[in-house]
Symmetry: C2
């Protein structure tokens, strides 16, 4: 199982993930995230490794699952968004393993369930109010696995499409200039007054949010546990919130109780 | 409070949301979603309305919260992604209300907390394996609140940027041609063999997934409770899964236990 832990605090981990941890014989993960869920563990074996040992972690999971053990590979946020779900599946494929979901009824080397979670983009957006109410793009600024030109091209296309832009991995100890380069590029396409929300450590110890403008973004409060959300042309600040409207104005102004059919927000 | 319910089954609702429902005096929502959480309710007053009564629902919340009641406005998936968080904040702003988070210590007309959830895009991606492991865009095909030309422009820019593309609201009873139009446009930019995943009713009654190609997408299994995920140029099928790789191949081929620092998946 690949188990998403959500943003951090246990009240944000779905019951299915908590159950999967309880059922596991081995829990594998990055040290920081294993520590986060230790209160949820009993007598499971724990294999915790450092930051850059992703391949090693996945291999431990494949080996143990191949031996018939119930393994939980933990991943913060949602495991399917820049998380561990992809690498573990890539390695299964590269090693010719057959995997499938528990309910699939197929002949497999082992079962694999990806348990989703609250992604950082949703946790961060919730703290900012409602910045993601319209079409958005999610871009990682880490150029370790993606050429920088590709990242910049994507940022530019996102601006041309007036998408809300969510930036993951805006900065790390060794990468401190990327966010400034993105800001500079975006200022060529977007209003300098475009609202920007910065959320550090959403729903975990040390949580902080900040609302600023594209012109005033600084990298100071930003780190690896931060996401940055840049509004579209309609996004506006409201107190300490950001709102990206969705075209309802005609419906709630002047005719609050007589709206016509046709609006389409998911209830 | 705006309470995200996640995809559907109670094991996918975060504890914070369950607690918020338990604490509420009034629960407001679209009939279908209120029914979903009825087992979690005790003696709360329930105000359930039909599909297109979003403005009315929000106004009920504003009125009740203004009278000092604890209100939970429920929204499926994540309330911040095409959900109810935006409209309720828009209406607060339009009516000149002061709202803020419970821990803010500000003088407000009432407190407002947006509780995030597992969005449909994460639930659907989990069932498909790992299609969202690289930069992606999320686009709603509903042209009721957005001009169709804007939607098509965004689809085209997403293709040019080789983003993974997540389509919300691909079809409804009255809108049946949009997905075909998007497919036709994408076929001008992308390989017809590009893998596409279709997920209906992720983690709720009637769940179904399908992996196909861009050339073979049909609207047949698609409805309003469906999301469609279109791969980037690197996405490949693996059994019944989709994998969008993230540039790790050098790291896990041939040197499984000796990988170099520098990889950067969130643990």
């Amino acid at each position: 199982m690949v188990v998403s832990l959500g943003p951090g605090f246990p009240e944000y981990i779905i019951p299915r993930a908590q159950e999967a941890l309880a059922e596991a014989q081995v829990v594998v993960g990055y040290q920081t995230y294993v520590d986060l869920v230790r209160p949820l563990l009993t007598d499971q074996e724990v294999v915790a490794t450092g930051m850059t040992a992703e391949v090693k972690r996945c291999q431990v999971c494949l080996d143990r699952a191949g031996n018939g053990q119930r393994v939980a590979l933990v991943s913060s946020g949602d495991a399917g968004i820049y998380g561990m779900a992809g690498l573990v599946l890539e390695m299964c494929a590269a090693q010719g393993l057959k995997v499938g979901p528990p309910e699939g009824g197929l002949e497999v080397d082992f079962y694999l369930e990806v348990i989703p979670g609250v992604p950082a983009l949703a946790a961060g957006a919730a703290l900012l109010g409602a910045p993601l109410m319209h079409d958005f793009v999610t871009i990682s600024l880490s150029d370790l696995l993606t050429p920088w030109e590709t990242i910049m091209k994507r940022v530019e296309l996102a601006a041309q499409g007036d998408f809300v832009i969510v930036l993951y991995n805006p900065k790390s100890k060794k990468r401190d200039w990327q966010l400034g380069a993105v800001q500079e590029l975006l200022l060529r396409h977007k209003d300098p007054a475009t609202p920007v929300g910065i959320v550090c450590r959403a729903m975990r110890e040390g949580q902080a949010t900040m609302v600023t403008t594209l012109a005033d973004v600084t990298t100071e409060p930003v780190d690896m546990q931060t996401i940055v959300i840049i509004g579209n042309s309609q996004t506006h600040a409201y107190g300490q919130y950001l709102i990206t409207p969705r075209g309802y104005r005609d419906k709630y102004q002047g005719q609050v109780s007589g709206e016509k059919p046709g609006s389409r927000v998911r209830g």
